[in-house]
Amino acid sequence: MTPDAQFAAFARRGELRFQRCEDCGTRRWPPESVCHACLSPRAAWDPAQPTAKVLSYTVLEEALLPSGELPLVIVHVQFDDGVRYTAPLRGPIPEVVTDRSVRWELGASDDHPVVRFVIA
């Protein structure tokens, strides 16, 4: 199974998991076939930490996506172990977004698993 397919398979079961190199221990994100530190193809999939911190964000007032309600907040977050992830923020738009702690949740859209964040 490709790394992307593996990631999605976990997500369909309600699990958010990220790769870790089984040879050198380097955290791997985005999902990849090999470790960027040692080129090993071997990877373990660790459960994501429950919360992350917002590094940056954008508020879309314009319909750039085929569906979805506007305005839509997209956040770029960092987990404590260094993994960065980008996904929509669910719920009302907070006054301050940057540096906020958020927790992830999994939803579904057209049968595809969708990661979302909510303010923790």
Binding site: S56, T58, V59, L65, I74, R84
Partner: protein, 374 residues
């Protein structure tokens, strides 16, 4: 880098607009014809091609070459993106310098599909917006400072007949617009369709040869070039050091790779008379200025005032109007404009006494063009 022996003898771009009835091949041909009229070269003298397009946006090189009646011994094909514009000219300069070809035509065109779909905009926009927001936070900058970039380039576009957006834009009008892709407002990005893709079509041709073979007295020297940088410290539409995507968050200063093009051209950054950069988003101008050491990290908002970078300023930027106002030519409009400026042919936009022009993008690639020194 070994010395280049390369000069641009002709540069032409079509009007930037929406041409529903023209194919990409036709637009490229239009630019090629105009470029050939600008030089004593015959079409048969062209023996090399750098084609800045391919499927699905246009033809791959064999069909293009057949249609244009060319006969070549060197071909290179990129895909259309602003990151490959400087590299296309660099490859042409390397090819003629080393004798792989005698005359290389850099050809480009864009023929926009009626709808490029939401998926296009999604990933492009979010990274640009994240980088701009992060920059504003790190350096505690008022986002309204970016207005100077937008307004300066619109002022240049108003002096450019081929530009797509030529209506005046006031600071008040700009400030009143909603942040549709925050922190960006509509004038902070390339003219877009309602699904987020670029709106404009164009065709471009730049002819490159060696100095000894250039009969034209209007040649412009390619003094130095460097390629795009790639790796985990790079991201789309943000300079290194922002700590986004795979980047580490570090205090930013230009690297020896960033500044190498100046050393190779035997100039200092302060010698540059006029600066050109890839500006699909207004924030990319700030990032490029800092990447190439024209100002320190975090100081671009103070540096890039309309008085300095606009018409009549001491450090004009994107005098064609940039992608923001001339339209999305992937930066080719800037390359053609550099040639016109250095030939003193830029009309109402002419920067008096310009002898050195730099192309330098947020991706780290650069060109130094100069009036003929040989």
């Amino acid at each position: 880098m070994a010395d280049l022996d390369a000069c641009i003898v002709a540069a032409a771009i079509t009007e930037v607009g929406v041409f529903p009835d023209a194919t990409a091949t036709e637009l490229a041909a239009r630019a090629l014809r105009e470029a050939l009229l600008d030089t004593s070269l015959e079409r048969s003298a062209i023996d090399g091609l750098v084609w800045n397009l391919g499927r699905p946006s246009g033809e791959d090189y064999p069909a293009l070459v057949n249609a244009l009646g060319l006969n070549l011994r060197f071909v290179n094909q990129f895909w259309t993106h602003g990151r490959w514009t400087g590299s296309a000219v660099a490859v042409a300069a390397l090819a003629v310098s080393t004798g792989l070809a005698d005359v290389v035509a850099c050809l480009g065109a864009a023929k926009r599909a009626p709808s490029s779909g939401g998926a296009f905009a999604w990933h492009i926009y979010e990274q640009a917006a994240f980088a701009f927001r992060r920059y504003l936070d790190i350096y505690d900058v008022d986002r309204e400072r970016i207005a100077d970039v937008v307004l300066a380039q619109r002022e240049f576009a108003r002096r450019n007949d081929r530009a797509y957006l030529r209506d005046p834009l006031s600071r008040e009008e700009y400030a009143s617009l909603p942040e549709t892709i925050s922190p960006f407002r509509e004038p902070d990005r390339f003219p877009a369709t309602d699904t987020g893709g670029p709106r404009n079509d164009y065709g471009v041709c730049v002819l490159v040869t060696r100095h000894a073979d250039a009969a034209s007295h209007k040649r412009v020297s390619v003094l130095a070039a460097q390629g795009v940088q790639a790796g985990r410290e790079e991201m789309y539409f943000g300079r290194p050091g922002l700590g986004l995507m795979t980047q580490t968050a570090t205090a930013f200063a230009p690297s020896s790779w960033d500044l190498r093009v100046f050393r190779d051209a035997d100039i200092e950054p302060t010698d540059v008379d006029v600066f050109y950069t890839y500006d699909a988003f207004s924030s990319l101008v700030w990032f490029a200025l800092e990447r190439f050491g024209h100002c320190a990290a975090g100081e671009a908002p103070e540096f890039a005032t309309i008085d300095r970078i606009g018409p009549g300023g001491s450090f004009p930027i994107n005098t064609n109007g940039g992608i923001l106002s001339e339209g999305h030519t992937a930066g080719w409009g800037a390359i053609v404009e550099m040639v016109r400026q250095l030939r003193d042919e830029a009309g109402a936009r002419q920067v008096k006494g310009a002898t050195l022009a730099q192309w330098g993008s947020v991706f780290g690639d650069a060109l130094i063009l100069g009036t003929d020194y040989r």
